[in-house]
């Protein structure tokens, strides 16, 4: 295969859009949108699952394409799935706080789902930073979450292998944020700087030299779109997140307060499933694995997959194993 062939396939993949499962908008507040995915199988009878994605990337990674969709796997197992899309913050959102995200917007989504199903509690799946938001919410509103699943979620931000945390330690975040938002592009550059040779060079060489088929190129282009489709971060919430979590490690130290209330992981008594990628370069294994020792729950399961951060969402192995693990765990509860 020549470079011209690869180029032709890249051109053909230009219009590949992410997203494959049908969904409907059920609620919106400001830029936030709450979607319900339409069922693809008979209901399993479990409580609805609300997926809380991170603020730093777009949530369509959870439903990228038919053979790379965690959501599709959950739907096919009969789960009722909701997904939060936080939207793209702009200048008007610069003073949005973590309390706004957790105690107002996330809480609003939970209320919508509970009301729609006439339930008192739902199941929650927090992904990456969304897992941190989920842990905070569950600690603040323990009766509203029946089972909590965290996926590639940092809990202890001061583990030795956490390069991002080490870099963040000496940054004057207040000065960085100023009174504005933080550019998603700049954050992306920092993420890529964690492994610049693999992420900035080898990945593209792999594509050019790997004789990729059209499906592979389509997938590549969707993932590229996701990686660089990075919303700016609401300034105040970003400053709080970096300061409280990355610099001061308040969550693990039991010193975190959101909206004036203490977030105490030891108070979490609900069943917990923690999904870890052992090759995760963004959220090191130890940063996630700390959860089990910090929560009060006696029903805390940790499952480790030999996958990287993105591989946990979209690798072929993740498609086979991750939804099945979630469904199995929920069914047992």
């Amino acid at each position: 295969m020549t470079f011209a062939d690869v180029y032709a396939r890249l051109v053909a993949a230009k219009h590949c859009a992410p997203g494959c499962s049908a969904k409907e908008l059920v609620w919106e507040s400001g830029k936030l949108r709450l979607f319900r995915y339409l069922p693809t199988a008979a209901s399993s009878g479990t409580a609805p699952l609300l997926i809380v994605y991170a603020l730093v990337n777009r949530p369509y990674m959870m439903d990228l394409q038919e053979d790379r969709s965690l959501i599709r796997g959950l739907l096919d197992a009969g789960l009722t799935v909701y997904l939060i899309d936080w939207g793209y913050p702009d200048g008007a959102d610069r003073f949005t706080t973590l309390a706004d995200y957790i105690d107002r917007l996330l809480a609003g989504c939970v209320e919508q789902v509970l009301a729609a199903h006439r339930l008192g509690a739902l199941n929650m799946l927090g992904v990456c930073q969304g897992g941190v938001l989920s842990l905070c919410f569950a600690a603040l509103h323990p009766r509203k979450v029946r089972n909590l699943i965290t996926m590639v979620t940092p809990v202890d931000f001061h583990t030795p292998g956490d390069l991002l945390s080490k870099w963040a330690r000496n940054i004057d975040v207040a000065a960085w944020v100023g009174d504005g938002n933080v550019s998603g592009g700049v954050l992306n550059q920092l993420f890529l700087a964690l492994m610049p040779f693999r992420l900035g060079h080898q990945k593209y060489m792999d594509l050019l030299l790997g004789n990729p088929g059209q499906a592979q190129v389509d997938n590549f282009m969707r993932v590229e779109r996701w990686i660089f489709d990075s919303p700016d971060q609401a300034g105040t919430a970003f400053q709080e997140f970096v300061t409280w979590f990355y610099q001061e490690n308040r969550l693990a130290r039991g010193r975190l307060e959101i909206a004036g209330r203490k977030v105490d992981l030891r108070s979490l008594q609900l069943p917990l499933l923690n999904l870890i990628g052992s090759k995760d370069h963004l959220v090191p294994r130890d940063a996630s694995n700390a959860l089990q020792g910090l929560v009060g729950s006696k029903d805390c399961t940790t499952l480790e997959f030999e996958l990287g951060h993105i591989g946990m969402y979209i690798s072929a192995r993740a498609q086979r194993e991750v939804p099945a693990a979630i469904v199995r765990w929920l069914a047992q509860r």
Binding site: A115, F197, H201
Partner: protein
């Protein structure tokens, strides 16, 4: 930018890599000093070739203003270094001086980062040359390098480079230089914003500060409004799942 121009740098890079790898493999046909020299040359080639990876995109923003982006810290004219500020333009002069000082700090921090990146690439080149010398490349000797051989060399270089970079990136000097770079950039931006706001006020244009004040007022009003609403709406009246007109549905493939 079309895909062809997007791919061109990678294609050129692959061509240069293949040429350099071919020379290296030729050089290894004769064991001894020439093989070691070939390995060192190949490692040096890769060191230079991948240096461009280490450019923060925002560093170019300072290239014209603060001097960052240059290989060495910019030298400020002696008369401008720290003149006393007084008179009608006192505040303006102080702002310019702060801006210049922040630009100098940005350049200095970037210079330290570039030295560390250079160290990482040097270490990577040494490790790569050592790996090449210890590897048995007998099957490739005397023949034009095949795709698998080139690929193996390339992947080996990436492994060496990531390992060397990881050691440097985890060091205290790197973290310190990166933080200094970001902190100085933040201070430079703040002074620049203040300067631009002065011009905006002179032209009676709205400023970011004014917009921020208004945003805070709106947020405060929203907060007051929310505080008058029931804390948990489901206890009095279950909220209806809201479907905006023309409720959107996800596309089916």
């Amino acid at each position: 930018m079309n895909f062809d121009s997007l791919i061109a740098p990678l294609r050129d890079s692959a061509d240069r890599f293949a040429t350099a790898a071919g020379k290296y493999l030729e050089g290894t046909q004769t064991p001894g000093p020439s093989a070691a020299e070939a390995a060192r040359t190949f490692g040096d080639f890769l060191r230079v070739e991948t240096m461009e990876l280490f450019q923060f995109p925002w560093s170019t923003n300072f290239a014209s203003g603060g001097g960052a982006g240059a290989a060495t810290p910019p030298a400020m004219p002696p008369a401008m270094q720290d003149p006393p500020a007084f008179g009608l333009n006192r505040e303006h002069q102080l702002r310019w001086q702060r801006s210049a000082e922040n630009g100098r700090r940005v350049g200095e921090a970037q210079h330290r980062l570039q030295l560390l990146w250079s160290d990482a690439l040097r270490d990577a080149a040494i490790a790569f040359a050592a790996r090449l010398q210890s590897a048995d490349s007998g099957d490739a000797k005397g023949a034009a390098p095949g795709a698998a051989t080139l690929r193996g060399l390339y992947d080996s270089w990436i492994d060496c480079a990531e390992e060397a970079y990881a050691r440097i990136a985890r060091s205290d000097p790197f973290s310190s230089a990166l933080a200094d770079f970001i902190n100085a950039s933040s201070a430079w931006r703040k002074e620049s914003q203040a300067s631009i706001e002065l011009w905006a006020k002179a032209l009676d244009l709205p400023t970011r500060s004014e917009l921020n004040t208004l945003t805070r007022r709106v947020n405060s009003l929203e907060e007051q409004l929310r505080s008058t609403e029931p804390r948990d709406p489901t206890r009095k009246e279950p909220p209806r799942a809201r479907r905006p007109s023309g409720a959107r549905r996800g596309k089916r493939p």
